[in-house]
Symmetry: C2
Subunit: 259 residues, 2 copies
Amino acid sequence: MRNLKLTLSYDGSEFCGWQVQPDAPSIQGTLATAIGRVTGENVLPQGSGRTDAGVHALAQVATFGTNSLVPTPNFIKALNDVLPPAIRVLEVSEMPAAFHARHSARAKTYRYRMYRGEICPPFLARYVWHYPYPLSERAMVEAGELVMGEHDFTSFAAADPERGARLAEAFQPDGDDAPSNIRRIFSSTWKVEGAEFQYTVRGSGFLHHMVRNLVGTFVLVGKGTVKASDISKVLQARDRSLAGPTAPAAGLYLVGVEY
Amino acid sequence: MRNLKLTLSYDGSEFCGWQVQPDAPSIQGTLATAIGRVTGENVLPQGSGRTDAGVHALAQVATFGTNSLVPTPNFIKALNDVLPPAIRVLEVSEMPAAFHARHSARAKTYRYRMYRGEICPPFLARYVWHYPYPLSERAMVEAGELVMGEHDFTSFAAADPERGARLAEAFQPDGDDAPSNIRRIFSSTWKVEGAEFQYTVRGSGFLHHMVRNLVGTFVLVGKGTVKASDISKVLQARDRSLAGPTAPAAGLYLVGVEY
């Protein structure tokens, strides 16, 4: 059996998220249907992690096993012919049997796009968080740097601990699913890009809602409600109630996964 | 009564077009509802012309009369607060009573975006025509130049003559609605923009489907089915059956209206 790795981009606006659900259109389910139409096989592709409803991907990675003999370049075209335009396969490659989209992941990068202009262009409404109110961008840059390194990110995990642990998409080098909330952040930067203020974070793995909760907290710093230097205290407290609200899904992108 | 001019941008993907319809969401109807909520008045704004289902606007213009005393800058914010994010009011200004969005228009500019890359990014799927097949861009540039000047554009008008005449959005300096198919094209250019090939046309006015029929015909020229020099013959024939198919709505933008 071949082990195929897919690299995918998707507009998450009209999906219930990555994970297959019985009565709602998911990325995983739509992809499974497309693979079924191309290979005739019934298979559920495994993603590098789950993205929530409305969250986008520039380069999500998924793996699945197949007995199909279709050459990999033809797979790209065949899948894109049957997938909706909101999901595109960018690459297909054959991997050793041990390669797994989630367990083999070494690092992931996410980006969050805030649109700062007074009027958000209608063509960006699905793709950014429109936030035209005053913010200290300097304080947010400073706060962003403070989450770098290895920390217990419990304060930034989804509030429901059971759901948080279940959905945690950890980097687990040994492939187990220990629900630890410790993650290593390699880089964490805010940057002005035209009318946008963008946060890019690269880490070993991310807890459920972690990037959106970080952004929500950085916005409290930008508003002056929380001091930049308090970010370290919020981390140490391991208490979700001390961090900010969850930023809207529309601004979040899975930029890429490293193996 | 004040005569207000609105400049609007919209993502036309989820609307049945500009014109109000009984059972489908239109730009005009959605705007009328928003104006009603802000002013308490029941008024149907008049656009510079109708855009079809799926066609976008960077700067459509509409006028309406109101007894509301709300200052114009407040109108922008009040309307955007009640409009869906797919429609944004960019400007509001008070005009003399004689000013009319359609009758006073002197020129309009449209742009058509073709995406030429092999895989269309999911974030562009609603906003371009994905056309990854070979085309002679040089021949299309040449054909584009041949429609400049004053012509009878019957060959490029919507096939149903009754509908075409009814929907014609002519520049009529005297404000009547004579259904002539003669229009003046001031500029007509194809240009490579990154992975896109874009057509921009500025003219005195445009018949129903005219830009999309021009694009469909230019694509026949790009494929070699029609010679660039034949464009003049197609114009002279005044016969819709000699021109190419109507290009998809998603790639078309009303860029602006001049008065």
